[in-house]
């Protein structure tokens, strides 16, 4: 196939969620002389930022201090977050709220007219600003509105399939338009990857179906590192299709039941029962399922029936709706099938505090990136914040970079593009491996070996299986060469991206012989600061071989604890 059109921009942004759009708006407002293109494989308002319900943390209250938010975030992340990065996140948090308010967000207000704030886990005070229970949706739409206002060039439903670079210098992105089938080359001086997380590598995930780690994989292939990619946050209760059932259901008195009708939390946390800490509840549920006490559908049950119809209708109307619409179960009459579900990617593209990757001109922000701020576990309300603060920040650091640097040397670009198109062409043909089968196999391996329970034996087996699967991917072929809304092609490309991330996760996870945050090993149950207070860095050579290295955590002013207790 041929490249049909070339576009030239100062900055090309891949991804149009909170991180990508806030970067685009910042550049459009502060540097209208710079040209920006935003590419998204879906329309911007379909981005996964919109699914975040709870809110966005910021020390905006007169009696709150960013220093407290800073410490809570460090501790919540088991001190794996870089302290200079966490300082930026928390110190700049109020600024992100003010930007959003100015752009039109409808934040809830308290009785004094100030930003209303709700309590979230792991924080010592109410610090989470919100728009009812639809914060992500409201903020995403607000940003899109301002993108319309500022005439940002949005290329929606353009799928990026390759990143062109010359050695360690970024040159451009190759993408096709789903609507027309046009293949475009976006030659740009700089690129911001803002493609969100990779939760879809797991068979049980709350993530949107589009969260396939595209930006992470492209960066890895281009020579950047994935940092701390073994850390995936897991929520204890999702429906069979991954949609979350919030803690509220257990808070109101719901029981967790195995197939023998037993309230199994009695065995694991007799004092707290269903309201034990999240990670303990998640591991208990998974243990029941692993040991054969789950139901036939691979779930346990969340039973609300004893609360009675009246209380369920009054106190838990949304949970009831979610169970009815997405699992076909009315909790007044039947218990809800639930199991742990992967929720957030703490790791990501290794970037510095200016969002810059080691490849000249390449930047990343939001869940795609790992600056790092979340460490080994993310606090609720810090994900939207990460996307906003580092989205805005990249919108400032990229123009600064452009000011200081010349554009890339484009000698040899033609040959690189030809090679990329050859790679693309090689994906098409008859026969070969079946994408849905490979995807399901990857999802199974990740849940079985890199889920809530990890140990040497399980993970070594999982790593070998993922490597084998990755090799089999080379034989995937797409039959239809028509690029217009070709789901076979998109799913094949996405599987390729996911396997890169899954493979990197497996490699880093096996080697981390400790338990820290979301990485829990039954063979090494304790945190080990002496050996593992450091970031994992997975890189890939041109032949696809992965390598693992480490880098010390940046510590500026706060001594890490040796044990995390709440």
């Amino acid at each position: 196939m041929q490249i049909n059109e070339r576009f030239d921009y100062d900055i090309v942004i891949m991804g149009a969620g909170l991180a990508g759009l806030s970067a685009a708006l910042t550049i459009a407002e502060q540097h209208p002389d710079l040209s920006v293109a935003v590419l998204s494989k879906v329309h911007p308002v379909r981005s996964h930022s919109g699914a975040a319900q709870g809110g966005i943390n910021a020390a905006v209250a007169a009696d709150d201090k960013w220093e407290d938010h800073y410490y809570d975030t460090l501790k919540g992340g088991w001190f794996l977050g870089d302290q200079d990065a966490v300082r930026i996140l928390t110190e700049q948090a109020p600024n992100a709220i003010y930007h959003l308010d100015r752009w039109g967000a409808h934040f809830d207000r308290d009785e004094h007219g100030h930003f209303a704030q709700r309590p979230f886990g792991g924080q010592r005070r109410n610090r989470t600003c919100y728009v009812a229970d639809k914060t992500g949706h409201a903020l995403l739409n607000t940003l899109y509105e301002q993108a319309v206002h500022l005439n940002v060039d949005v290329f929606d439903e353009w799928f990026v399939f390759d990143l062109i670079h010359h050695g360690d210098e970024f040159l451009g992105l190759l993408a096709f338009a789903n609507k027309t089938g046009t293949i475009g080359y976006f030659a740009a001086k700089t690129c911001l990857l803002a493609t969100g997380g990779a939760g879809r590598i797991y068979g049980q995930s709350s993530n949107a179906l589009i969260n396939t780690g595209d930006g992470m994989a492209l960066a890895l292939r281009a020579g950047a590192a994935l940092k701390d990619i073994e850390f995936f946050q897991i929520h204890p209760t999702g429906l069979p299709n991954g949609i979350l059932i919030t803690e509220g259901a257990r808070g109101e008195g719901g029981y967790l039941i195995n197939k023998d009708g037993e309230r199994f939390m009695q065995k694991y946390a007799p004092q707290f029962m269903e309201l034990a800490p999240r990670d303990l509840v998640a591991r208990s549920i998974q243990r029941e399922i692993n040991e054969g006490r789950g139901f036939g559908d691979g779930c346990v049950r969340l039973d609300l029936r004893h609360l009675g119809a009246e209380k369920i209708k009054a106190k838990l109307p949304q949970i009831r709706e979610i169970a009815m619409y997405f699992a076909g179960v009315d909790p007044i009459e039947q218990p809800i099938p639930v199991r742990p579900t992967v929720h957030y990617t703490m790791g990501g593209i290794d970037v510095d505090i200016n969002c810059a990757a080691p490849i000249k001109g390449l930047f990343a922000a939001g869940e795609t990136a790992c600056v790092s701020v979340h460490g080994a576990n993310r606090l609720g309300g810090n994900s939207l914040l990460d996307a906003m603060v580092f989205g805005i920040r990249s919108g400032e650091t990229i123009p600064a970079y452009l000011h200081a640097a010349d554009g890339p040397d484009r000698t040899g670009e033609e040959a690189l593009l030809e090679a990329a198109m050859d790679r693309f062409d090689a994906l098409f043909g008859d026969g070969g491996e079946d994408v849905p089968a490979l995807r399901m196999e990857m999802e199974r391996i990740m849940v079985a070996s890199f889920g809530l329970f990890r140990n040497q034996e399980l993970m070594e087996k999982g790593l070998a299986e993922i490597s084998a699967l990755h090799r089999r991917y080379a034989d995937v072929r797409v039959k239809s060469t028509d690029l217009v809304f070709n789901p076979e092609l998109i799913r094949a490309l996405e599987l390729g991206f996911m396997l890169e991330v899954a493979h990197a996760c497996a490699l880093a996870a096996v080697d981390r012989r400790e338990s820290r945050g979301s990485h829990y090993r039954d063979d090494f149950p304790a945190m080990d600061n002496a050996h593992f207070l450091r970031h994992s860095l997975v890189t890939r050579d041109a032949q696809g071989a992965l390598a693992l290295a480490y880098r010390d955590v940046t510590i500026t002013d706060t001594k890490p604890l040796d044990e995390i207790k709440y």
């Binding site: 879906v42 329309h43 308002v45 379909r46 981005s47 996964h48 919109g50 699914a51 709220i97 003010y98 930007h99 308010d101 100015r102 752009w103 039109g104 409808h106 207000r109 004094h112 007219g113 100030h114 728009v131 009812a132 639809k134 949706h137 409201a138 739409n141 509105e145 301002q146 319309v148 206002h149 609507k179 089938g181 949107a208 179906l209 589009i210 429906l239 069979p240 299709n241 949609i243 009815m324 619409y325 997405f326 699992a327 076909g328 179960v329 099938p337 994408v435 849905p436 039959k479 239809s480 028509d482 217009v484 809304f485 070709n486 789901p487 076979e488 799913r491």
Partner: protein, 237 residues
């Protein structure tokens, strides 16, 4: 049980659509979107439809199910299939690109036409802001509903007025106009009033109320439209 799905098909670039029936094994809890996934994975890898969050918040997967617009991810398949073959079509009032993928260009044009963004003379945020001082409870309730809109185009698809008058901006864009029209922070108030009363604007709504019935987020577009209409007539008198 096996469910039968009679689905609208159209190849990209070809003008003649056709219909195709698929049999899909259904398990309790399965949504219509999951039926589409099964068809794509097991029967026809080229079968095209939109999806993203599969949790009724992104607005990608609206199609017509047995003739009425709905989110595929929010519709249980089994109860429908038990009543007979389920008919699936792309959204109405929009051209179709391929299979169930509708072309949203005219939908977004209508959206853009109402200047769907807050314009403030003062380029700053509000440290202190009392919504309740500026809007009454009913207005606040409708504003909150307007914020809920996921732009899935279900209302646009099933709007009889839009079907007969392609100048009408449709329910969704009307909701957007309302959202900024009543926002006390906005400085385009008179422009928005003019836009609402110009041909094709909010005033052209014929109050069929289909938008209220099909909206998956209970935005109640007609109620927003009536707010604007009422204010326009009050200011004219």
């Amino acid at each position: 049980m096996k469910g039968r799905f009679d689905i609208f098909r159209k190849r990209a670039g070809e003008s003649d659509p056709y219909r195709q029936e698929f049999e899909v094994e259904l398990i309790p809890g399965m949504t219509v979107l999951e039926v589409f996934h099964a068809i794509q994975a097991e029967h026809d890898p080229s079968f095209a439809y939109r999806y993203s969050c599969r949790g009724a918040i992104c607005g990608s997967c609206a199609v017509r199910i047995n003739g009425t617009a709905a989110l595929a991810c929010k519709t249980q398949a089994l109860p429908l299939a038990e009543q007979g073959t389920v008919r699936i079509d792309p959204l109405g009032n929009l051209p179709t690109i391929k299979d169930l993928v509708a072309d949203f260009d005219i939908f977004w044009e209508a959206y853009d036409s109402v200047r769907p963004y807050l314009e403030r003379a003062e380029e700053t945020h509000d440290d202190v802001m009392f919504w309740a001082d500026k809007l009454d409870a009913k207005q606040l309730d409708q504003l909150s509903r307007a914020v809920d809109c996921i732009k899935c185009a279900s209302c646009f698809s099933d709007c009889p007025k839009r079907a007969e008058d392609e100048n009408f901006i449709g329910p969704q864009a009307s909701v957007q106009l309302f959202k900024f029209y009543i926002d006390p922070r906005d400085d385009l108030h008179s422009m928005r009033r003019d836009a609402a009363s110009s041909p094709g604007g909010v005033v052209d709504c014929d109050s069929h109320a289909n938008c209220v019935k099909v909206c998956p987020k209970d935005v109640r577009p007609l109620r927003a439209i009536n707010f604007v209409k009422k204010e326009l007539s009050a200011t004219q008198e």
